[in-house]
Symmetry: C2
DNA sequence: TCTATTCTCGTACACTGTACGGAAAAGAGG
DNA sequence: CCTCTTTTCCGTACAGTGTACGAGAATAGA
């Protein structure tokens, strides 16, 4: 990792006008051998199957059959490639029904779509955790969410805030859910952790933990927990 | 980055029993020149002032005045050092009053403490996003949270779930809040983004966005938004 | 003093993002 | 046709990463 970019430690990112409102075609010079779409799709495929840490410039390039440095003709840096990836998969969210009028139900549906979307692309919560400029597909989905929120009568800033916070909420829940499920996939690690917690509970200084581990209750499905939290959150939202 | 560890791609992490329940002292061989506490504190200081990406083995070592490889006598790898950092700062959360009996108020106080804690250590949301085994300080705070939840009558698994989800919620909100504030610190970037959004809004395909930007309403403070969401979440929680 | 054990840390290696610059390809103008 | 300009392609190089290895230093028990 090296960042000899001129940017000083403040914020990063590329001019969104140059990125998303591209000047179409320069019609001069060598024709590109690849498309941005193709490269971003390869990066997404890599992240989907092997995780975000497998997305390196060299591996993406190998996937599309180019040299590593060629990618820099399509995205100015890796950070931007990640932004493109996020917007690329957001295209899966843009086939939306018009709002039904019951904004709470519609908003819950929005959140559920986001959840299954993030579960399909498990790297999304991590990729969303840094600030990004919304691309066209993200904006299309935002447009839908704003339409859903229209009956609330909230003002502009409040509607945007609700959408952002809801997305952060879903990302947090999915990140936790994904962490849980990958931890459970490794039984000896899980067993070691259980032994450790049992040892802590047995030391006498953690009576509440001891009791919680002793009386576990029936196991909860992540989806049910998500739905319960989400319902509480949205049912309680003030209108106007 | 290289991970020639024997672990196969499944899960990572170190045996928590060996990590947290350490055998005290071996009383043989060369005496350690540093303490784990000292090293972890240096890493935390680095993360607090320069961000998580400044926490490299070499920089931490330089901070405590050792060679980079010496750190591996105190933590088996960087991942573990991060776990130690998380638990280290969690010590700031362990001076808790006993539950008042009003569990909703107590739980809101827990979340607010977590929020200011994460705002003090802005790298925490990112560090928490991967699965970690709770260390002693984290367990002490968990013990408090479980005590707070006692009046709810929830079973063990449900109480643990509520705590985990609440933590994920707070982390998500704080991550968003931090991203917002660092973006606002760079005025030309913010202006470029505003121009971009205005251009999108003006294209006629985003009427809701156009209206939201045109009627912004008065600006919201992050804390007020957090409180509103949190209250809705907790007031709506079912009891047992 | 010898030996076992532990910590210290210089060196080395595989890997990262990316600056640089030359070569290749394509259109425009002669 | 040749050039000029512009754009893409990509090999090479470099600074910086986590960490394996192993030689040396320090300490405790024999």
């Amino acid at each position: 990792m090296t960042k000899p970019r001129d940017e000083r430690s403040g914020a990063a990112g590329v001019d969104p006008e140059q990125l998303w409102l591209r000047p179409a075609e320069p019609r001069r010079g060598r024709r590109p051998s690849f498309s941005r779409e193709e490269i971003v799709a390869a990066a997404v495929a890599l992240a989907d199957t092997e995780g975000l840490e497998a997305v390196t410039m060299r591996r993406v390039a190998a996937q599309v059959g180019s040299g590593a440095m060629s990618l820099y003709s399509y995205a100015p840096d890796k950070e931007t490639l990640l932004e493109l990836m996020v917007d690329h998969v957001s295209a899966e969210l843009t086939d939306t029904d018009p709002p039904s009028g019951d904004w709470r139900a519609d908003l819950k549906a929005v959140a559920h779509r986001q959840r299954v979307h993030m579960l399909r692309h498990r790297w999304l919560p991590a990729a969303l955790s840094t600030r990004r400029v919304p691309g066209p597909h993200t904006l299309a989905f935002l447009e839908h969410a704003l339409a859903v929120l229209r009956p609330t009568g909230l003002d502009g800033a409040a509607k945007l805030e609700v959408f952002a916070q809801l997305t952060a909420f879903v990302a947090g829940q999915v990140a936790y859910e994904v962490a849980q499920s990958t931890a459970a996939r490794c039984p000896d690690r899980a067993a070691a952790e259980a032994r450790y917690l049992a040892a802590v509970a047995a030391d006498g200084h953690h009576p509440e933990l001891a009791e919680a581990l002793a009386a576990p209750g029936r196991p909860l499905t992540p989806e049910a927990t998500f739905t319960r939290f989400l319902d509480r959150l949205i049912d309680g939202l003030d209108t106007g």
